[in-house]
Amino acid sequence: MRLIVPLQGVVQGRGGLILGSLIPCALFYFLQFYLKRHRSPNPPSPSASSSNLAGLPRTSSRSTLSSRGSLGPVRISARGSSIAKPDDSPYYIGWNKFRDDPYDKINNPNGIIQLGLAENTLCLDLIEKWVSENLSDSIMGRDGDDLSISGITTYQPFDGMMELKVAMAGFMSQVLGQAVSFDPSQIVLTAGATPAVEILCFCLADHGNALLVPSPYYPGFDRDIRFRTGVELIPVHCRSTDNFAFSITALDQAFNQARKRGVKVRGILICNPANPVGNIIPRETLYELLDFAREKNIHVISDEIYGGSIFGNEEFVSMAEILEAEEVDKDRVHIIYGLSKDLSLPGFRTGVIYSYNESVLAAAKKLTRFCSISAPTQRLLISMLSDTKFIQEYLETNKRRIKKLYDSFVAGLKQLGIRCSESSAGLYCWADMSGLIPSYSEKGELELWDKLLNIAKINVTPGSACHCIEPGWFRCCFTSLTHEDIPLVIERIQKVAETCK
């Protein structure tokens, strides 16, 4: 309405010729300026057209909305629309293809072999054995002396049963070889590490703020963090010459560049041990990182989900260990953990937020109402994690088996002239296939990825999906393979490799 009225005046001859041309031009330029400043941070989506009309008075857009005939079907939100779009990342496309044609030794020997999902099946036999020997006792709660289900059916604290927090604290300590003790009252339990990361982002950053993330990084972060929180991820590129270790200089540059753009950085998100590279952050770097965070007064989120999957000789130092030693400034550090990788139980949905900040813990606890762990599963885990003898055997066997498979797989790739980065942890290796790509670019990398998926029929994750700045790197998860599968995988890669030379 406000736009139309002055023009009406001009049209009716009240403004004269000069005003008649000046006013519309001025209005046009001011409108552009206004729209630019008020543009919604979400990308405009086809269905929510009104978000593009943010600068115009509501009445004009509303009258368009309420006349049913011109509208078509009922719309979902802008953020819903962006999630509804078909997957365009190779990370997810590969998964979808695998789902349609999964390799099975007997029933589908020409199917796609999954090397794109960091899943560990190497020690499930140990867990199966434990479950068959212990389960009937463990699933029911104990009400006095009788087994009773009231311990699992009624409302429990949303952030997890205290007994599970205690058992989890003990487990996390065992994973670190008792190098540090964890306080159960600083633990918030969630249905997987995925909601744990999201909850922390909701607590530490506002819509439109950003986190710095050393790259290459886990492709899932793009979804998990950006879906609903509106928080931006700024990759801080690392290079193969440094074995993909990040530097404080690079963090500082990224921080300043963001500031110039008017974007407020609220924290740094690190994955330690790293995904997809599998390297471990040295103790000195962790100290430097804390200094940097202190200087900028920002948070540090340390995702330590692979803390128990270390097979190399490098020393793994958890943030918790650094903070136990230092007395100052714990308020800015938060650790993510979970049982999906180290204990091979992704189906059970068990994640941990470990924080030193009382306000973050208070807010996170309230948010767990949206993502609590199912009570029968909590009961099972209390039993399992408290069986420290079993856990010790499990952790040691797991490391041995991962190492064996890693050595075998990396040796196989070496025979094809494909070298892997130095890594000491994780369920994957980070392979340099730049020698096989048609052009040293993302396009070339994706062409190779396509060949590997559709001709070699192996699903690996291309570095571009992980925001790696150097083309040609691929993450290959190997812990759902058996030793017999490895020669088959290498053979398939070889076929494609030969066509690339």
């Binding site: 509501r58 953020r79 479950v131 289900i149 059916t153 249905a191 997987g192 998990d224 800015r332 949206f370």
Partner: protein, 442 residues
């Protein structure tokens, strides 16, 4: 020796979400819970403690569950030698276990007496209805948009629908003149109120059967709601979490039945939320579902459900339980009977104390009218009465103002989360309280 630690001059900041009060945990609804936690009634050890009548939890059919789990150990233990365990432990697919979705679909059909059909591929699994409602809100509305919700409503909605999503709730005012039913005038008024504030309405969210009224929504009102949503081209979310707690199956009409009768015309705007926390008394399991007639919503909700998946162990257990027709039929029937019996007991007990309630036919609570007792017919008057109920009578009941009821003096009283003996103790206390008041007047 004291160790001086230098405190940072500027502490590291948190987000607006983290410091916001939208979680609402400072309201009387939750304050009463705190009082209960500090001094909980216990028949033998703490007979003068606070009786919890503010938590809608269903314990009346607990024994049936216990019996099932004891007799079917395979269901919970993956059988001898744990076959199937491996696949289960690894299963994190956000589509949800197919057998579980199938069992859930057939359970929902059973509750509706077979009057509606549910397609297992339209079911999205979430860790509870709380998560389902929030997830749907993220999908249907953008920050600053609004959902219309009839009052009085479940206090948790203020938090679940608004906190992280950034949306507003615009109330559809209902009052006792017509038993708090939703009228077309009230719908239009709410829509206009949003318009006048320049707020875009994205949908209507109803709870059927209603919380806190404890009554089912009539068929004609459901038809009007669907027509209204169609006229305005907005969504309709029907939270049917208490559908299995209607005292008689025939008195509950699901929106699904209305859609079927219309051959699913205009159904892509309708979404149903369900959970096993109330009907099956399994709130600890964290089991919720979204059932949507809109393909885009199903796809999007599925992807978003990765933030709130149900443990595969639980899905497996429930797939077995819910597909056991003998168990579910018996459970649904027995549960309805026992809830009705409880309802009768509390209504009669209250009536003999001179207190009337809204005529209800569903749920785990009744909607009690204490307005004749108020010193002043205001929110403050109601809260003063609530306070004496909590601290003198030692009963935690939920004041209507925390449910955004426009008329002061109404309270929600839960009756299914305790034994019959405890309920009798509570009724006795109310009786004594009312007698004392009579004596004071004379």
């Amino acid at each position: 020796m004291a160790i001086e630690i230098e405190q940072p001059s500027v502490s590291v900041g948190l987000s607006k979400v983290a410091v916001s009060e939208t979680h609402g945990e400072d309201s009387p609804y939750f304050a009463g819970w705190k009082a209960y936690d500090e001094n909980p009634y216990e028949e033998s050890t703490n007979p003068s403690g606070v009786i919890q009548m503010g938590l809608a939890e269903n314990q009346v059919s607990f024994d049936l569950l216990e019996e099932y789990l004891e007799q079917q150990p395979e269901a919970s233990t993956w059988g001898k030698g744990a076959p199937g365990f491996r696949e289960n432990a690894l299963f994190q697919d956000y589509h949800g276990l197919k057998s579980f979705r199938q069992a859930m679909a057939s359970f929902m059909e059973q509750i509706r007496g077979g009057r509606a059909k549910f397609d297992l591929n339209r079911i999205v699994v979430t860790a509870g209805a709380t998560a389902a409602n929030e997830l749907l809100t993220f999908i249907l509305a953008d920050p600053g948009d609004a959902l219309l919700v009839p009052t009085p409503y479940y206090p948790g909605f203020d938090r679940d629908l608004r906190w992280r999503t950034g949306i507003k709730i615009v109330p559809i005012h209902c009052d006792s003149s017509n038993n708090f039913q939703i009228t077309p005038q009230a719908l239009e008024a709410a829509y206009k109120e949003a318009e006048s504030k320049d707020v875009r309405v994205r949908g209507v969210l109803i709870t059927n059967p209603s919380n806190p009224l404890g009554a089912t929504i009539q068929r004609s009102v459901l038809e009007e709601l669907l027509d209204f949503a169609t006229r305005k081209n907005i969504h309709l979310v029907s939270d049917e979490i208490y559908s299995g707690s209607a005292f008689s199956s025939s008195e509950f009409v699901s929106i699904a039945e209305i859609l079927e009768a219309r051959q699913y015309k205009d159904s892509e705007r309708v979404h149903i939320v369900y959970s096993l926390s109330k009907d099956l008394g399994l709130p600890g399991f964290r089991v919720g579902t979204i059932y949507s007639y809109n393909d885009k919503v199903v796809t999007t909700a599925r992807r978003m459900s990765s933030f709130t998946l149900i443990s595969s162990q639980t899905q497996y257990l429930l797939a077995s339980m819910l597909s056991n027709k003998k168990f579910t039929e018996n459970y649904i029937k027995t549960n309805r009977e026992r809830l009705q019996k409880r309802y009768q007991m509390i209504i009669e007990g209250l009536r003999s104390a001179g207190i009337e309630c809204l005529k209800g036919n569903a749920g785990l609570f009744c909607w009690m009218n204490l307005s004749p007792l108020l010193e002043e017919q205001t929110r403050e008057g109601e809260l003063a009465l609530w306070d004496s109920m909590l601290h003198e009578v030692k009963l935690n009941i939920s004041p209507g103002s925390s449910c955004h009821c426009s008329e002061p003096g109404w309270f929600r009283v839960c009756f299914a989360n305790m034994s019959e003996q405890t309920l009798e103790v509570a009724l006795k206390r109310i009786h004594n309280f009312m007698q004392k008041r009579e004596r004071r007047r004379n």
